[in-house]
């Protein structure tokens, strides 16, 4: 069973806030809160630390307290960096986080869109989605974009397998929707489907979630509307 620890990267000091929906989503989970403070190339990270460390650490501590109140197990890290992706990857590796959660703009977390591209990691996906759907009124849509009719047949059974697994974990059948689309423009279809959802969940790099929502998303620089949940791929 892959590691279920969740890394939540947040730009500090400015982005340091979690909406109640996210806090609720993370309740009783194992969370690593990563505050990253961006340093311009021409500045020594030590200099930026001098100025922003105190404020950033305070905000991180507040968020840790908030998450702990909702029964999450929380560790926090604060990094001053020229390169946010490098820091996110490194801390995720060091803390052994199998999942990345990037909070979005929406202040609700009820409708989860799960992008499934193959039967790879299906068990992981199903069990993570089950964990997320278990409490509250959340629902999940399992989405498969097949290239042609032939793939669609296979896709139908993959989707059904995933749903069966979720039901075995105690998820009600009515909380899980299956959706199969035939198209060769995966990114466009997922983008359109995601409009009616609060959370987009997928596997890292298959294809990259960044591509999936058509350049709308770049960690930190421009928030995506949906909260993103990325299952990190094991092969590096």
């Amino acid at each position: 069973m892959r590691n279920r620890r969740i890394l939540v990267p947040l730009e500090v000091p400015e982005e340091a806030e979690l909406c109640p929906a996210i806090t609720g989503l993370l309740s009783s989970m194992d969370v690593v809160l990563l505050g990253f403070c961006i340093v311009p190339k021409q500045t020594d990270p030590e200099q930026v630390r001098e100025k922003f460390e105190e404020e950033s650490q305070e905000k991180l501590d507040e968020m840790v307290a908030e998450l702990e109140r909702s029964d999450a197990k929380v560790v926090s890290r604060l990094v001053f960096t020229h390169d946010r992706m490098q820091s996110i990857d490194r801390v995720a590796d060091e803390e052994e986080c199998g999942v990345l959660l990037i909070p979005g703009e929406y202040e609700s977390c009820d409708r989860i869109l799960v992008a499934i591209q193959s039967d790879q990691d299906l068990e992981n996906i199903s069990s993570l989605v089950s964990d997320l759907v278990k409490d509250g009124d959340r629902t999940a849509t399992l989405l498969y974009i097949a290239k042609d009719e032939e793939e669609a047949k296979k896709a139908q059974s993959i989707l059904q397998d995933a749903k069966d697994m979720m039901e075995r974990e105690g998820i009600e059948s009515s909380s899980v929707d299956l959706r199969l689309v035939i198209s060769d423009d995966e990114a466009k279809e997922i983008g359109e489907e995601s409009i009616s959802h609060d959370i987009l969940l997928g596997i890292e790099g298959k294809p990259s979630l960044a591509k999936l929502i058509k350049g709308e998303f770049t960690i930190g620089t421009e928030k995506s509307k949906q909260t993103l949940v990325v299952i990190r791929s094991e092969e590096q």
């Binding site: 311009p40 190339k41 021409q42 020594d44 200099q47 630390r49 650490q57 890290r77």
Partner: protein
Amino acid sequence: MDSAQSHLGRTRSELERTLSFRQALAIGVGTMVGAGIFLFPGIAGGRAGLAATLSFALGAGVALTVALPMSELATAMPRSGGGYNFVSKAMGGMVGSVVGMSLWLGLVFASAFYLAGFGHYTVALLGDIGVSLGSPPVIAVLAGLILVIVAITGTEKTGRLQDSVLVILITILLFFLADGVLESLGVIGEVRTPVEFAPNGLGPILPVTALVFTSYLGFAQIANVGGEVQDPERNLPRAMIASVVIVGILYVSTLYVTTSFFSADRLSELGETALVEVARVLLGSAGAVVISLAGLLATLSSANASILGSSRMIFALGRDGLIPKRIGEVNERFRTPHISILLAGLPVVILALIGKITVLAQAASFLHLILYGLVAFSVVVLRHRDTDWYSPRFLTPGYPLLPIIGGFSSFAVILFMEPVAIAIGIATMLASVAWYFSYERIKQGGMENEE
């Protein structure tokens, strides 16, 4: 990963090391390449002829005997401030302070020198396309102001721009040098009569070494960003040594090509932009324009790197309480150290207006060479003292002979400089000593008042 606990003891935040080997190497090469290739060939070749290749080779030798001990120190203390930190640790605050201040101003002189060169290249390029506009010093000042503004407000894009500029630059150079070497050997084009090795005798070789040593100041900039380099124990020594070897080879080849095509007398006339005329002979007027453009990029990137290096020195001085700490603070909005960038950049602009290229270059070298000598000796001091915290992963080969040679040869190069440059250097150091003692007194006074 460095956790701050190791040196501040009050925090658990981390500083990400983001510079790869390639980027560290680019900082070294990018800082150096502007001078040795685009500004000195005419001046150096004019004084020593083909023998100037020896001057550049000697310079590389001295730089290497310092780069090796500096690598050892950098693996033991990989944080910003570089050479200044090493000397402070080995020889105490006063010497460290003088070296730190000298290095700040040494980089200011170096930067002004590169900008003055930028002015010459701009005028040459404009002249080639038939425009006569502005004089070199005026252009240098404008460029300096733009660099300061970009350094304060610049985004990540400018950093990326600088990386690609260097790749373009090296590509142009390799093409030009390959063609030049082949033509000078008679492989392509007509067979040439060999030029005289030392038209003015062997006398100018050492003074020219002293003059062109500014071309080798960049490797220390790699130690200056030591806190940001990934896997520092491996990458710092490799990047420092490789940068000296790479630019050394480029310089010697450039000088070989330049002095193969023009006599020493002609090179003296051509001065700073002699390389443009070599390109004209080799590749026609298109070649001249391309080399002029390369010269613009190279001098500007060297000037920029030196201003940023200088501002980091100022931060390190503030961190260690040798100047008011406020000076190193970053701007809330841009997160850049605006005060230290101004303190680095504005003197550059003023000096660029004076525009005496050879004096600026030697003053810069003087101040760096003092540091280099002390850095080399610091290795001996620290190893001899055998303290707990000193555990370098890279060991200077040929210890103790090599660092001792490095130390003495750094000081020896100074002896061959023009008196005016030596005078400027000594005055700068005396001013640093005076600052050190008066600031200590001000700080003590301040504390007494608080009590």
